[in-house]
């Protein structure tokens, strides 16, 4: 992989009256319990190391209190860390001075918020243009530039409305348009869709994925929802109690959860919809049987009936270019669907 767009190194955040006084002990491995009882401080983040590649959707996932919202606010330094580094394109955001930081926030990274963070006294058009107005562009020019994004998120015709006149989903579209208008390469999304109801949420995920196909931004997406993470994430980091407990490819996390916490986490997901053929197939380069040819990105749910209906009960897996990359059998699919916690003897999905 090439140099990551954002590189988070040894990031610590401690909350309390005097975090600097205990940072040394924390780095030496003091426990959460001891820190709270003997020193009156609380962990926010603990030794975070994450590489975020350019032009992909990186999801940081965790339950409430896991520190995920704190973490994303370190990327554009809405929160200052206790120690560590946040390298974006080779520059450490955490050592920037005030003007550099303002510059960084104006041009390099924009943000979408869980509670939208719209300005209720501005119209949709003015909100969408806000980032550009802050950059110093004349209001009329800023509005003109952001108009395209208002239309892209499906709000054409609502330019003159105020946020209070819109539904939650529409308000977040404004938030998205505002973030896209500045043309920043990095898009930080803090539980951007969590406040929306499920149907609208799926809708917005589609909007985002559609935009991403075309824009290839570096997106850091925070969520507590595993389905959402699996749906949009190119890679996922799971956070618990302020520490990363597993990071990697979504398929990898499902197939090889690193501990019981993650096993619990992935228990309720629809495996047949999430797992793709390429994850389960036996790699090979020759078409071995007469079964159907299936795309390697196809999920099990779609592949299952096709394989079940074929004579050989197996299929050839091909990539986007139509080249054969492997084969898969009905048994492999069934073992893939089996939840790892159900002890059926299927050693394939046994985890460590």
């Amino acid at each position: 992989m090439t140099e990551p767009k954002i590189k988070i190194e040894n990031l610590y955040k401690i909350f309390g009256p005097n975090p600097k006084s205990v940072i040394g002990k924390v780095q030496d491995g003091m426990s959460k319990q001891e820190l709270l009882e003997n020193h009156g401080h609380v962990f926010g983040l603990k030794d975070i190391n994450i590489d975020i590649p350019a032009k992909g959707v990186s999801v940081i996932m965790g339950l409430s209190g896991s520190g995920k919202s704190t973490l994303i606010r370190h990327i554009n330094r809405l929160i200052d860390p206790t120690s560590g580094k946040m390298i974006v394109d080779g520059d450490d955001v955490l050592s920037m001075d005030k003007d550099q930081l303002i510059e960084f926030r104006r041009y390099k990274a924009s943000m979408v918020f869980q509670k939208f963070g719209l300005h209720v006294h501005r119209t949709v058009a003015e909100n969408a243009a806000y980032g550009l107005i802050v950059q110093g562009k004349p209001v009329s020019e800023a509005k003109q530039l952001s108009q395209k994004w208002i239309e892209r998120v499906g709000l054409g015709g609502f330019e003159g409305h105020y946020p209070s006149q819109l539904s939650g989903g529409m308000q977040q579209r404004v938030g998205l348009a505002r973030a896209l208008s500045t043309d920043a390469e990095i898009l930080l999304m803090d539980e951007a869709f969590s406040a929306l109801d499920p149907l609208i949420r799926t809708d917005m995920q589609d909007v985002l994925l559609g935009l991403q196909e075309e824009l290839h931004k570096t997106i850091v997406f925070i969520t507590h929802d595993l389905d959402e993470a699996l749906r949009i994430g190119d890679n996922i980091a799971i956070l618990r109690d302020g520490a990363v407990i597993q990071q990697g490819d979504p398929q990898d996390i499902i197939m090889h959860p690193s501990d019981d916490y993650i096993v619990d986490f992935i228990q309720d997901i629809n495996r047949s919809r999430v797992i793709r053929l390429k994850t389960l197939m036996t790699p090979s380069t020759s078409a071995s049987d007469s079964g159907p040819e299936l795309q390697h990105t196809m999920n099990l749910e779609l592949a299952l009936p096709k394989i079940a209906n074929s004579a050989s009960k197996s299929a050839t897996v091909v990539n986007e270019k139509g080249e054969v990359v492997g084969s898969i059998s009905l048994d492999q699919i069934i073992s893939g669907i089996t939840r790892p916690d159900v002890d059926t003897g299927s050693s394939e999905t046994r985890y460590r």
Binding site: R105, S110, V120, S164
Partner: protein, 296 residues
């Protein structure tokens, strides 16, 4: 036993000396600085006199037309405009026109002074908790100390006249605008401000683009309160030489003229209601984005 029945008072001589030295100290201070303070307030006096003369000299129909227009611009309500016109006609008909114009002048000037000093002070107060901790008790004192008490030093310093009257009005009327500006800015949603931060807004952009606009309902409530409190000081201000509706009220107290007192008192009430309704409607209209939303 003496200790329990008699309060251990400070010695009579000592007490007298203490008071004397305070008085003397302040007298020295006012001798030293009274003149320069007067020069400092000169522009204010000049402005007040100019405005009063203008209002008194302008023919009454023009004043009524101007008032009606201002009421319309502020409120966009025919009811309020008609009320304004009728009130001024009644005031003129009962022979209180000139006094009303004088009162209008001092209220306008003191409101302007309170706003120009009060809003920045409120903003400053919202920036730091320490500033708030210091300023809040001072505002409490300004609002609760009987007006007659601070009239003493004001008169010692500046004598009797319009400027000390104006000062007395402002001391009493400025706290609400300061308080409510501070409160309004502190109540601005965290999310709105964080979004401004995230997009790289600087201090000025945050203050004028987010905090003040969002605090406007509270700031406007403060302006409204300030006007009301200034009006309620009119009678006391007239004790130290401010012309206006307060003077006849004062006269009717000492001579027991019920009708005179009542009429002038009601004229003050009429002004208060007009100012209040117009400024409130204007404040509401600035909040067009809150249409359809209940707000406090």
């Amino acid at each position: 036993m003496d200790f329990f029945t008699k309060f251990p008072v400070m010695g009579r001589q000592d007490l007298r000396d203490l008071k004397k030295s305070i008085d003397a100290g302040f007298r020295d201070f006012s001798r030293e600085f009274g003149e320069s303070l007067e020069t400092f307030f000169e522009p204010l006096l000049w402005f007040l006199v100019w405005l009063e003369k203008l209002l008194v000299a302008t023919p009454w129909p023009i004043i009524i037309i101007v008032m009606a227009t201002l009421a319309w611009i502020g409120s966009r309500s025919t009811k309020i405009v008609i009320g304004t016109v009728l009130s001024f006609l009644a005031i003129g008909y009962f022979g209180m026109w000139k006094d009303t114009m004088s009162t209008l002048a001092i209220i306008s000037v003191s409101t302007i002074v309170c706003i120009t000093a009060g809003i920045p002070l409120g903003i400053f107060m919202s920036r730091s908790d320490r500033a708030q901790a210091v300023i809040t008790p001072i505002l409490d004192i300004m609002q609760t100390i009987p007006a007659f008490v601070y009239l003493i030093p004001v008169v010692m310093l500046l004598g009797i006249g319009k400027v000390p009257g104006l000062l007395a009005v402002c001391i009493y009327a400025i706290p609400p605008i300061v308080r409510l500006t501070n409160l309004g800015i502190r109540l601005v949603e965290k999310e709105a401000l964080e979004a401004a931060d995230a997009f790289g807004a600087n201090y000025r952009q945050k203050l004028f683009g987010v905090q003040i606009p969002l605090a406007l309902p509270n700031i406007f409530a403060g302006v409204n309160q300030t006007i009301m409190m200034a009006l309620s000081m009119v009678v006391i201000a007239s004790m130290i030489g401010v012309a206006g509706l307060g003077v006849p009220v004062l006269r009717s107290i000492s001579n027991q003229y019920l009708a005179l007192g009542l009429m002038n008192g009601l004229a003050i009430v009429a002004l208060a209601i007009i100012f209040d309704r117009v400024s409130q409607q204007y404040g509401d209209r600035l909040q067009k984005h809150r249409q359809g939303i209940k707000h406090d």
